[in-house]
Structures are given as C-alpha cells and as structure tokens.
C-alpha cells in the first residue's frame, strides 16, 4: 500500500555523517600511532579542552549510541551484565563497559572493527548527570588510568547571581583540569587552540545550527528531528573545520528546500515534538512508522536544540566574564543545558520554546528505562504540557540503547492514541 512506502525526505548532507563519524573513530583508534594521547569522556562535558591539546577524545555515550544504531548493542550488554553490571544500570554504560572490558583485556579482536577505539590514557567525566562520574570511575578501574572529574552543581536557584557562583566553581576546577592535561600530555596547554575552538569554530557551528533551526520552524518542515538528531554527533564532538563546512552545507540545503517547496515529510498532517534522548536502535523503524502515519517529527531539544534561547546562551551575554577568557565561556556553557536545571527551566527552555516555535500538535516524552536523567518528572511534564498548552502529550517507555525494553506494539499504540488525541482537539 502506498502509505506503507512513505518515507521521510532526508536532507542529503546527512549522507556524509556516517563517513565523518567513521573517520572520527578511526582517528581515535590510530591516535597512539600518531603520538597522540587518547581520552574517553562521559557526560555533557567540555571535551573541547582536550581537542585543543590535540588529545584524541570522544564521548562514550555517542559511541554507545552508535553501537545501538548498528543493532550490535546486545553483544556488549551481555558482556557487562555477565560481569555483574545490573540491567538497571544506564544502558550507555553497559554497552561501553562491555566494549571497555574487551579492549582492556587485550581482546580488541572481539570488538567489531566499526567500534574499535584505542584504549584511554586517561578518563574525563563530568557529573551533569551523576551517573557519568560513576561510569567514568568504572572505566578508570577497568583501564587503571588517571581520571579527572568535573563537579557540576545543580542549579536549584535559577537566578543569574547563583548561576554565576556555580560558573566560578566550575571555572576554578577547569584550571586544575588544564594542569592535569599538561601533566598527562607532557606539554604546556595550547590556549590559542582552545580560543580558536571556543570562539571561532563552536560559535560558528552554533550560529549555523541556530539559523538552520529557525528555518526548520516553517510549515511544512523542511527538515525533521530525525535528521537533526543524527547531525548531533559532529556538533558535540568533532571540533574541526569540517564540521563547520557540514553545517554550511546543511544550511544551504534547507534554504534550497524552502525555495523549492521541498518538505521533510510530504503531506505532513501532524507535527510532533520529541522530548529526551531517542531509542537509537529504532530510528529506522520509528521514522518509517511515523512517515506512514503522516507524522512529522519536527523538533526537540535533543536535535533542534540550537534553536532554543538557552542554547543561544552558549555564549554568555556581553559584559559577563573576562573578555576573551575561554575558560569562563566553557564553564558558562556547562550549565546551559537542562541536565542541571529545574523543571521550570526545562519546561520554559526545552519544551515551551519548541512547542511554540514549531507550532507543535503533540509531544512524545521518551521515558528510557535505564536512564533517570531523561525519565524523571516526565509524568508531571506531560500534565503541564496538556494543561498549559492544550495539546496532548504521551510518555513512551522504552530505552535509549537497550532494545529489550522497547515493545513495538506498545509504542505504536501510544503514538496512535496521541494522534487520535490531536485529531479530537482539532475537530
């Protein structure tokens, strides 16, 4: 039937992402042979500080998401659980620990070539999500290497004054981190490189992403949240100029689409927002199902995050901080995402902005079984969304990288009910 064959119209530039990420991870695998140090990182932490020093680094969550997107996650999950990691532990951790256990024991041949990375010389973890430093601690023990952790205060008080105090606390630690990096790389810190990354590359990418997100607010959507999520990998980790070029291409393409009237989902009827991380193993399945049901997954902080005011706070307002001090900007950035913010903040900056900006009909809140960061408060969020914005919201229980917690019939039913709720409100 024609409806079953309907697919999202992916932006062509995302075709290059797979190759970009393959190269990215291959560079990490080969880093030692190039005389570069390797750091495994976890948490939404400032990896740019490592990139500046030419340390090969990657976010272990991204690595796990890649494994799960490739449908290869169970092999590594089995390994970790077999060694005592409870199934309630974050599935990003379980996959990564599985990979780490093979590599640390000299069994690289048991890791699929696509997922091979060089073992770390050190670990960097930030506790915007408390589990991240706990996970980093496991990696430290598995590889028996030094670890440096960034302690990230939770911002219960949303005032600028309190935020500033927390920024100072983080910045003070980052000074120590610089010393740690110098000690573990054997050379003095490359401040020029950090400034270039923070003030030029990241700012450029941020501005491009914000511009792209703005264009994507139009109706019909010219690019979906699926494309935006896939494009996140480069945005968060790859700090090279190649990423800037990638986003320039993406911007050109979405502008072209607007000009030519090309939609992400022809015949889009329902515009949905996705809150939280995604069941990475089910991207294909869900995009096909949504397309077949005329659902455009138009936005969400996880992908289109660049379009929200808080993300535009990547760089603090003028007058804040000391001139061109990159550490202040890096420290400022740590708390701009919702991980360490109140429900009120998240509702305002990660939900409302997207509902209004994209004129959303309904919201899916992903409730990942093994991730508390993205699960907590969601029942209340769903209620608040319905009460405040008059649109239906549904909580979908699954998991980000452990497919055993994903029941297709249950997910489909929730989405179907959401659509019916939208239809009923529209009539």
């Amino acid at each position: 039937m024609a409806a079953e064959q309907k697919r999202y119209n992916r932006v062509r530039c995302t075709d290059g992402i797979s190759a970009m990420m393959d190269k990215f991870y291959k560079d990490i695998l080969n880093a030692p042979s190039q005389g570069r140090k390797v750091c495994w990182c976890s948490g939404a932490s400032p990896y740019e500080m490592l990139t500046a020093q030419n340390v090969a680094n990657f976010q272990t969550e991204n690595h796990s998401a890649r494994v799960s997107s490739g449908q290869d996650h169970m092999y590594y999950i089995d390994k970790a659980e077999g060694e005592g990691w409870p199934p309630d532990t974050c599935s990003y951790t379980r996959i990564n620990v599985g990979v780490a256990l093979f590599i640390a024991r000299g069994e690289m041949d048991k890791v699929h070539p696509k997922y091979r990375v060089a073992p770390p010389d050190f670990i960097f973890a930030g506790n915007t999500c408390p589990a991240m430093t706990q996970w980093g601690e496991s990696l430290r023990r598995i590889f028996d290497v030094p670890m440096w952790e960034l302690d990230c205060p939770f911002n219960y008080d949303d005032s600028d004054e309190r935020y500033l105090e927390n920024v100072k606390y983080i910045r003070s630690q980052l000074e120590d981190f610089v010393i740690f990096i110098e000690k573990n790389t054997g050379r003095s810190y490359n401040w020029d490189s950090l400034k270039d990354i923070v003030f030029r590359r990241m700012r450029q990418v941020q501005q491009l992403r914000a511009e792209i997100a703005e264009i994507c607010k139009g109706k019909p959507a010219v690019m979906s949240q699926f494309d935006a999520m896939i494009a996140m990998g480069p945005a968060h980790m790859v700090r090279t100029d190649a990423v800037t070029e990638f986003y320039k291409k993406m911007l050109e393409e979405v502008k072209e689409r607007v000009k030519n009237g090309v939609a992400a989902l022809p015949g889009e009827r329902y515009r949905l927002m996705w809150r939280g991380n995604f069941p990475w193993y089910a991207v294909g399945r869900m995009s096909r199902w949504m397309a077949a049901n005329d659902i455009c997954l138009a936005t969400g902080a996880y992908g289109m995050g660049a379009g929200s005011p808080h993300a535009n706070r990547l760089f603090p307002p003028d007058g804040f901080g000391t001139g061109d001090d990159p550490l202040t900007f890096v420290a400022w950035n740590v708390g701009t995402r919702g991980y360490t913010r109140t429900l009120e903040f998240k509702m305002r900056e990660e939900v409302e902005e997207f509902i209004k900006g994209w004129d959303i009909d309904g919201v899916c809140l992903h409730s990942p079984r093994s991730c508390r960061l993205w699960s907590m408060q969601e029942y209340d969020m769903a209620n608040l969304i319905e009460t405040k914005y008059g649109i239906p919201a549904t909580v979908i229980e699954a998991d980000h990288t452990d497919s055993r917690y994903y029941t297709p019939s249950s997910v489909d039913l929730k989405l179907q009910a959401l659509i019916e709720g939208i239809k009923a409100r529209k009539e």
């Binding site: 005592g84 309630d88 706990q134 009120e344």
Partner: protein, 380 residues
C-alpha cells in the same frame, strides 16, 4: 518503662503518624531530611527536631502518578506520603541532592504536595571530595542552609549552640559505635531487626532521649552473655538510603545466619563518621562530609574504596559472608556493585546480592537465596 518498650513506641507505628500526634502536644518544629548527608546538627542547634524521612508501610498509589515504576521506592514512597498529606506536619523539608531521583523530587514534591511547596529546601554538596574547591563550596551551602533554618526557626544559630549539638550527636555516634562493638564481640546478642530498630529510632527522635536509651541498653548488654551457636556470620551492606525490610533480616536468622556487622544506611553508615572538634563548627560539619568513613558511590574519592572497605569489615568479623542489599533501581549502587563483587571475590569472601522493593509480600525467592548462601558457606 524498659528500653525495649520505649524503642517499640518509636518504631512500631509509622513515624509520620507518631510525630503528627506528638506535635499536638509539643510546639517543637520538625524538619524532614530526605537524601543523605543533611547536617542535622544545624537543625538541632535551633531547637528543632530533624527527622530522616522514609517511605511508609502502605502501598504506593499516588506516588506512581509522578514516578515511573522503575524509579526507586524511597522517592516514590516519600512522594506518595507527601501527596497523601502525611508529611504536612513538617515545618521544613530539606532535600539533599545525592542522586537523580532525589534531585528530581524537589520539583515533583513542589507540584504534588502544595502544603509542602513553600517549606522545601534543596541542598547541593560537591560530589568530588578531595579538591581545593570542595570545602569553600560546602561552606557556602552551609551558610545558605543556616540562613534558611534561622528563618524557619525564627531565631539565630550561635556557634556555641551548634558546638553543643555536635557534641550531642557525637555522643550518639560513640554510643552506637560501642553497641556495634558489643554486637561484633557477642554475635547474636541482638537480632538484626533489633539493631535496625535501635538505629532507626535515633533517626526520628530527639538525640538526647536516644542517648539515654542507648546508655541503658549498653549497661544491660554488658552483663548479657552471647548465645552459643554455630550460625554463619553475615555482614550486611547497602540499602543506601533506605531501611532493610524486616522480613529479610528475620530470614537471615531463620536460616542459620547471624548478622555481626553492617554497612547499612539504617546502620553504621549513618553514625560511624564523627564531626571533628574544631573552632568553627560549620567547618567541622564540612569536614565530616569530606572525610566520610564509609565510601559512598554518590561521591568520588578514589582513595576510599568501597570494595576494600567491605573486605576489611568482613575480615574483622571473619570468617563471614557478605550480603549486598541494593534498593531496586538505585543507580549509584548499580554502578559500584560490580566492583564490590570483584573485591569480595578476589579476597575469597562469599558474596550474595539481594534486591529489595517496596511492597513485596512474598519473600520465598529471597529466602531460598539466603538459605542457599548460608548452606554454601557451611559446606552443605
């Protein structure tokens, strides 16, 4: 009234019912403490009663409107109590951010329990313990906390009053440490359930009164002989911010085990670290947190390893087996558990994992596991 009768008065009814009734008689303000490491001495110094919050015995119903089934029971249970108005008697509720769920509960409680909204006070302490920034940051938090407490109490906290409270608390800790020393040297002199009752009572009543009870109890125990038996010695660990279900403690003894020591929240983790004697009592409280003796997976201090800590504890009472109790869905515990397991296994100490959940009424599978564990240690 004898010691046990007094203790039973405290622990035999849900704490919130007892305290609600008690409030009608006494004007003392009550501050609920949720999450680990709340500096109770500061509450005490202002003449208020700090009470550690736990879930009640009733099934969780309203709590599940706010939390998925896979969130831990302390958070679901306390939310449940709050929704049902059972915690409305609190004059303040301090929530110390030691994990995701407790962190998230600040907003959930404000939404779900309107009567508590204005009295909730979140706190955040640094999680990385041994850094130059740690203590100044803790001091900041303690100063903010003191200001808030003073507002609630309607009076100022003096350094002297805080020093006195620290002394009272340290005395309590010393008495409990002594109790544990006696239990270790005379296994079986108290049941595991009795010990949990003793510690739990102290978490929910004025410390001075608890100290008097403990002194009487220690005097009694000094002249009591330990039962002679060949039961298997068990060390308990875990239940990091929760009680251990009484049924499980009973089962251990029913199948031939005797708990000789523990690293439980309602146990030694609560009292084994004393506050040092310093000129600045706030600094003493900061030091108490930084130098906590039982390693905690919610904090990072690579030089204090929980696995090794448990190996040492087991060896001190040895030969014994260690039963690890994880409150189901406790994320921090999940991350550290494999390392506890490796450490105990490498040290040749038998180890068993039990996960506990609120509202479980059938303990047969748990009994089988614990009984097999005891049979295994005995070489059955």
């Amino acid at each position: 009234m004898d010691v046990w009768s007094e203790l039973v008065t405290v622990t035999s009814q849900p704490y919130y019912e007892r305290l609600k009734k008690g409030k009608e008689d006494a004007a003392k303000k009550i501050i609920g403490c949720f999450g680990l490491y709340v500096p109770e001495e500061m509450i005490h110094a202002l003449g208020m009663l700090p009470v550690v919050l736990f879930c009640g015995p009733e099934p969780i119903t309203l709590g599940d409107l706010h939390w998925q089934a896979y969130m831990c029971s302390p958070v679901r249970g306390i939310t449940d109590l709050a929704c049902k108005g059972q915690l409305d008697f609190l004059d303040g509720m301090v929530i110390h951010d030691c994990c995701h769920e407790i962190r998230g509960s600040v907003d959930v409680l404000k939404l779900s329990a309107p009567n508590l909204r204005s009295v909730i006070k979140p706190m955040w302490f640094p999680k990385i313990l041994k850094r130059k920034q740690t203590k100044p940051r803790i001091m900041e938090e303690l100063n903010i906390f003191r200001d808030w407490l003073q507002q609630v109490a309607g009076q100022e906290m003096t350094a002297e009053s805080l020093q006195r409270s620290i002394q009272v608390y340290n005395e309590n800790r010393d008495l409990l440490i002594k109790l544990y020393d006696i239990r270790r040297s005379k296994p079986g002199i108290l049941s595991a359930k009795q010990v949990q009752h003793i510690v739990l009572a102290g978490m929910q009543m004025p410390k001075e009164e608890h100290n008097e009870l403990l002194k009487k109890l220690l005097a009694e125990l000094a002249s009591t002989k330990a039962p002679k038996d060949n039961s298997v010695k068990i060390v308990l660990h875990g239940s990091l911010c929760n009680e251990v279900p009484g049924n499980i403690l009973d089962i251990i003894e029913q199948v031939g085990g005797t708990v000789v020591d523990d690293d439980l929240y309602v146990g030694s983790r609560y009292f084994v670290t004393k506050a040092p004697l310093l000129i600045d009592p706030l600094e003493a409280l900061a030091d108490r947190y930084i130098n906590m003796i039982p390693p905690c997976p919610t904090t990072q201090n690579p030089s204090n390893d929980l696995g090794q800590y448990l190996v040492n504890m087991a060896n001190r009472s040895g030969p014994s087996g260690v039963i690890n109790i994880i409150t189901k869905f406790c994320e921090a515990h999940c991350h550290i558990y494999p390392w506890i397991r490796y450490a105990l296994r490498d040290a040749g100490i038998p180890e068993l994992l039990i996960e506990t959940e609120h509202g479980v009424t059938s303990f047969a599978p748990v009994k089988t596991r614990i009984q097999t564990f005891v049979e295994m240690i005995r070489g059955e």
